[in-house]
Amino acid sequence: MADLDIFRTETRAWLEANCPEEMRQPVRDEEDVYWGGRKASFKSDAQKSWFEACAAKGYTVPAWPKAYGGAGLGAAEAKILREEMSRIGARPPLSSFGIWMLGPALLKFGTEEQKVHYLGEIARGEIRWCQGYSEPGSGSDLVSMQTFGEDMGDHWVVNGQKIWTSYADEADWIFCLVRTDKTNKYQGITFMLFDMETPGVTTKPILLISGNSPFCETFFDDVKVPKDQHVGEINRGWDVAKYLLGHEREMISGAGGGDRTAAIGATMKRHAAKEGGELDPMLRAELAMFDIDALSYSAMGEKFLDEIKVGKAHPAQPNMMKYAGTELNKRRHELMMSAGGSRSLEWDSEETSGGKPSRGWLRTKANSIEGGTSEVMLNVISKRILELPGD
């Protein structure tokens, strides 16, 4: 226990010394975060120095082993670091799909060589990854995907199309599900890794209703992928993907904490007062009902994390968290729009810094679709937790 106290003191001091004031401001959008990669540039010196200080100490991926660029922190230490960072509102030094998605997959399924090479690049923010799962027509039914890699001995030739590849236009490499055996639905998929600059790879951003384009369509036209660039066994990529989907749902489920689960009634009242008005009694009632659900959900998030640590959580519980958390977040933004009134309808005004309320509200509508729709989550809960008969 004493060791942990020491660690906390040291961490606090280190953060004090290394996290610039500018990096202690709330993250307003993805722009405020450093995503790394070849094409990346720092938005400010503060962002640069904060990232470099963390990278040097392994704090871009604190829980990864030192050998792979992490700090090798144990669960307790990692928790302390999180607590101390959120205490001063420190921004994450580096965000990326490499950290959230590919990293965990490599840690579980990768070869030692892959871990040293790829994880290191991720930890140092050198390579930015994107994810190639969904395809037009597949949607929730992932395994129905068609992108095919033809075996040419020492390499595959990949042809097909992916959709919802996040920031594919800014990414350096892609981790990608490719069908390598047409005769076997589940055991005919390989989890491939390849460079987005490989000839034959093209991307097209998708304009969303929010007016932003965080996703792309990505096209593969005779793309050569060396045979050694896959995670897990050939034709066993679905195991890796399933593992990652579970992991993703845990992550999306908000893991408690964060705005998503905060109560909003008091804030909305201040907001209304600023606009020179009062909360409608009826809106006030809705806000109270929401706060009840939000505070309950955040207790659930805390409980869920505690249970995961000791393996007490039902393996399908992340599906419940994802379902409830995303539905809650959509409701939250509906209420924020109502409280904001006509001002929050503005699409590009300065007062709304370019329509943050309305664009943010529209963005949340994807929460219950991406990473497994609410309908799929409910199917999984009823089958795997309630064990209702399946058809």
Partner: protein, 379 residues
């Protein structure tokens, strides 16, 4: 009076449906003007066509050259506008402004109505002060000056404010901010000195303004109805606008629902049409039921308004709130059931969600009207 359309109304509905589906279609109007970054957010050509169809004068008396019809008929046009997300000044000009002008002097009616009927003029109304609809409280002041008035104050959410040839402004000529009495309505011409508009594009691609009145000078002829007696005209105008917005909301809900139900019949997942999944079937059926009920509430309120029944005000708030709930459900279910592509600008369902949001807010949202329902009902 039966709660379905009589023969004349059915004919009007047929022609409105056909006209709006062709001329007012999303691609032809909403997307066209939006992508062109049009400063008005709607097309003046279409507005003139509204005039040729006679839509512009539905609520204008026959003596003034209009059709002298009622809110049921205005609602028929608005439902088709909602279904096609057709951007136009119909609601602000032909419903809100026309209702107020109907209470105005011969001179005012003669000055403004002809341009409205032909679709050459566009009118706006300036009521809200602040981000929420609170017409009970009006602080914009109109001081007597000479034989006229001098207006000072700030108005928000003035739809088409920057495009309007005339703006109806609710101002206070006596009493204190929260008084029911002491309100006067003014018809303010676009070129009035001291009137400044800060135009903002809204989520549904319509354009509203924050409007500042800095000692705007008007002669007595600009007064609509009686000085200090504007509350009654204002309420009449608001009720017309609210049930109009509700009727448009029904169209939005039906448009979103139809588009979604069609999608359920085409999209396959897990080797099935998603419309075969009972969970989606039940949600769609529930939505259908809510849409039908909302539409009945709107028609009932329109008939009560047309009959000048005392219970009209209650039913208008019931309908505006009910439609708000239902249209919100329709667009949320619409986007969710469309899945990923529902989030793309390429598909229209997201446009319904955006329009619904702006319409919800216009002239009082669900919460505002629920509060009114409680107060009018005496609890």
């Amino acid at each position: 009076m039966p709660l379905y359309y009589d023969d004349d109304q059915t004919m009007l509905a047929d022609s409105a449906r056909q006209f709006m589906a062709e001329e007012g279609a999303i691609k032809k109007q909403l997307r066209h003007w939006r992508d062109a970054g049009c400063k008005d957010g709607f097309g003046h050509e279409l507005w003139k066509q509204f005039g040729e169809m006679g839509f512009t004068g539905i609520l204008v008396s026959e003596d003034d050259g209009g059709l002298g019809m009622g809110h049921v008929e205005a609602g028929i046009v608005l439902e088709e506008i909602g279904r096609n997300l057709t951007p136009s000044p119909f609601l602000t000009s032909s419903v809100l402004a026309a209702t107020a002008l109907g209470q105005g002097s011969d001179d005012l009616r003669g000055r403004y109505l002809p341009g409205l009927l032909t679709g050459e003029s566009v009118f706006a109304v300036a009521i809200d002060e602040g981000a929420k609809h609170r017409p009970e409280r009006i602080t914009t002041r109109a001081e007597k000056s000479g034989n006229g008035f001098k207006l000072s104050g700030r108005k928000d959410f003035v739809i088409h404010g920057a495009s309007a040839d005339m703006i109806i402004v609710a101002a206070r000529t006596s009493g204190s901010d929260a008084d029911a009495d002491g309100i006067t309505l003014f018809a303010v011409p676009r070129d009035a000195a001291g009137m400044n508009h800060d135009a903002v594009r809204l989520v549904d691609s319509s354009v509203a303004t924050h409007m500042v009145l800095d000692g705007v000078e008007l002669d007595g002829g600009a007064v609509i109805g009686e000085v200090d007696g504007g509350r009654e005209v204002l309420n009449r105008m608001l009720n017309a606008g609210r049930i109009g917005a509700a009727a448009e909301g029904v169209g939005v809900a039906r448009g979103a629902m139809d588009m979604t139900v069609d999608y359920l019949k085409q999209r396959k997942q897990f080797g099935k049409l998603i419309g075969e999944f009972q969970a989606l079937q039940h949600r769609a059926a529930h939505l259908y039921s809510e849409v039908e009920i909302s539409r009945a509430a709107v028609i009932k309120a329109q008939q009560l308004l047309d009959a000048d029944a005392p219970s009209a005000a209650l039913m208008v708030s019931v309908a505006k709130a009910k439609v708000g709930q239902t249209a919100g459900l329709a667009v949320r279910e619409g986007v969710q059931m469309h899945g990923g592509i529902g989030m793309t600008d390429e598909y229209d369902i997201g446009l319904y969600m955006k329009r619904d949001r702006a319409l919800q807010e216009f002239l009082g949202d669900v919460y505002y009207h629920a509060e009114r329902v409680a107060q009018i009902s005496g609890y």
